[in-house]
Amino acid sequence: MSAVGAKPQAGGAMDVPATIAGIILLLVIIGATYFLVGPGLMFMALIGIIIGGLAIAFGVHFVPVGGAPAAMGQAPGIATGVAMLAAGAGLAGLFGGAWAAEQGLIVAVVTGAVGGGLLMAITCMFVTFIYVYGMGIPCASGKVAKDPITGDTQTEFKSQGTEGHGLPFVSYVGGVIGGLLGGGGGTLIYIMLLDVYKEALPGMMGALPAQIMPVAVSMAGIFAVGMFLVNAVLTAYNITGTIEGPHDPKFKRFPRALVASAVASALCGMVAILIVAM
């Protein structure tokens, strides 16, 4: 969280012409990939990458990102930026999923989701410990009068002049859901790219499949990390930095982020696939 200046007042409205242009761009990229690599494994991988990107973008909206105000106990959420939180959850998920990559797509994606969710659950728990026992502040949301899950009232716990503080229960649940979606999405991108590279690299480099395994794993891994960060930062731009969780009014902005991240994932996925296809 930067201490510099006011946040941009980007409204929640969708820019319709730009969104349509984005969707056309998405279709052009998908069409170009189909034209270049034809139907089959590589094209399906692109579709998988787009789905993974969408899961990441949607998941980040659930994560309670508090930023610097949260560190000072003036806003609810985890006291760091989207890039750090999403990278933590996504990479934890990615490592978990990559470990299970040999057991098939479903097992790997679920393992990745559990890894990401687990990291967020542990993070949220210790954040709450520190808020309650370390900083001595109760958990109260500033955006809703009642917690949508437990029904606890919030306003009497909220200090004057703040937007709420601590980590209300709904934010905790949102964090875990965000971790699940982010970890699963990141792992899906990784598995899709790994399949493509395992298939294409032996022919391209003139080596045995077992020999190129380190290269395939490393390339798929670094691309998955890169795409994860691009999607997470685009989503961070959408929520302009901070969000309380699924009950926050900013959550309703997610359709914009889905369009943007579908285009970004398709673009990055196309380049990543064309490395071995061209």
Binding site: M1, S2, A3, V4, G5, A6, K7, P8, Q9, A10, A13, M14, D15, A18, T19, A21, G22, L25, G67, G81, V82, A83, M84, M205, A207, Q211, M213, P214, V215, V217, S218, G221, I222, F223, V225, G226, M227, F228, L229, V230, A232, V233, L234, A236, Y237, T240, G241, T242, R256, A257, A260, V263, A264, L267, C268, V271, A272, L274, I275, M278
Partner: protein
């Protein structure tokens, strides 16, 4: 819609830094091609210097973008730079000697599309958004390519993916002992990512001065270069790696001393305390 909260007063204009950074970085990365011409690996350190040039430009590009208050924190800009840069850089390595140029062009295209998405689809409406994300992607690609060239002595696909290990004096080809196969690219990614976002994150505020931030950027770049030169010992011959290490240590020491000088110049007052106080008595 947005308020620019900090203006760049005095100092070198951004476009000058942009042009100087781009040209210096490209030229320095291309100087590693002297390896191929001379048949040695002694010129690998030019790759690291190219990365430092790109990082200096990068810290100013981040300043240019983040002075509009994007609300997501300075590190996110650095992560965006490398997330989009790594994709362009790896694709470009396939084009042999043209790789740095291809990386710049492809990164510019990726950056332009990401800029359009954030500015128009996500409704950020920041005047410099598209230009900044183009610059970010190019910087990410160039820094990674510079570190890759420094670690392996080349920026082409096959030297980056294959290396050799020697067992009992025999030299065997191995894909694991390589920049990509050994996942050294992930370390280069983070070394660059930290070096690009730290300078502005550390120097922002009312007493921001351009020369101090750029000096810190160079210092962070050389610090990353030290780590890269140590890792390069596994991939290139030891003489070349030691040359890289000496160049990066000298560069780091010089920029560190200069940065401390500039910090003292800008500080209101300072007390020269010792890092570890002397134990008195006992």
């Amino acid at each position: 819609m947005t308020v620019k909260v900090e203006v760049i007063e005095g100092g070198v204009p951004h476009n000058t830094i942009l042009a100087a950074g781009l040209v210096a970085s490209l030229v320095l990365i291309y100087l590693t091609y002297a390896n191929v011409m001379s048949g040695t690996q002694l010129f690998s350190f030019f790759g690291g210097l190219g990365a430092v040039a790109a990082l200096v430009w990068g810290s100013h590009a981040i300043k240019h973008l983040c002075s509009y208050g994007i609300g997501t924190g300075v590190p996110s800009a650095g992560m965006m730079a490398f997330g989009s840069g790594v994709i362009a850089m790896l694709f470009a390595t396939k084009y042999g000697v043209a790789a740095p140029i291809v990386a710049v062009v492809l990164a510019a295209v990726i950056g332009a599309i990401l800029g359009f998405l954030s500015n128009n689809v996500l409704n950020m409406r920041i005047p410099v958004m598209i230009q900044s994300l183009i610059e970010m992607a190019i910087i990410g690609a160039l820094v990674l390519m510079g570190f890759a060239a420094m670690m392996t002595g080349s920026f082409e696909f096959s030297p980056l993916t294959s290396g050799s290990i020697s067992i009992l004096g025999l030299s065997l080809p191995s894909y694991q002992a390589s920049f990509i196969g050994g996942s050294l690219i992930a370390v280069a990614f983070m070394l660059g990512g930290i070096a690009i976002q730290h300078p502005f994150n550390a120097c922002l505020g009312p007493n921001w001065t351009q020369d101090r931030m750029l000096m810190l950027a160079a210092e962070c770049g050389f610090l990353s270069m030290i780590a890269v030169s140590v890792m390069s010992m596994a991939l290139i011959n030891i003489v070349a790696a030691v040359v890289s290490l000496i160049v990066s240590l000298v560069g780091w020491y010089y920029t560190y001393v200069k940065y401390i000088e500039l910090s003292k110049r800008d500080a209101a007052g300072w007390l020269d305390s010792k890092p570890i106080p002397d134990v008195e008595g006992q």
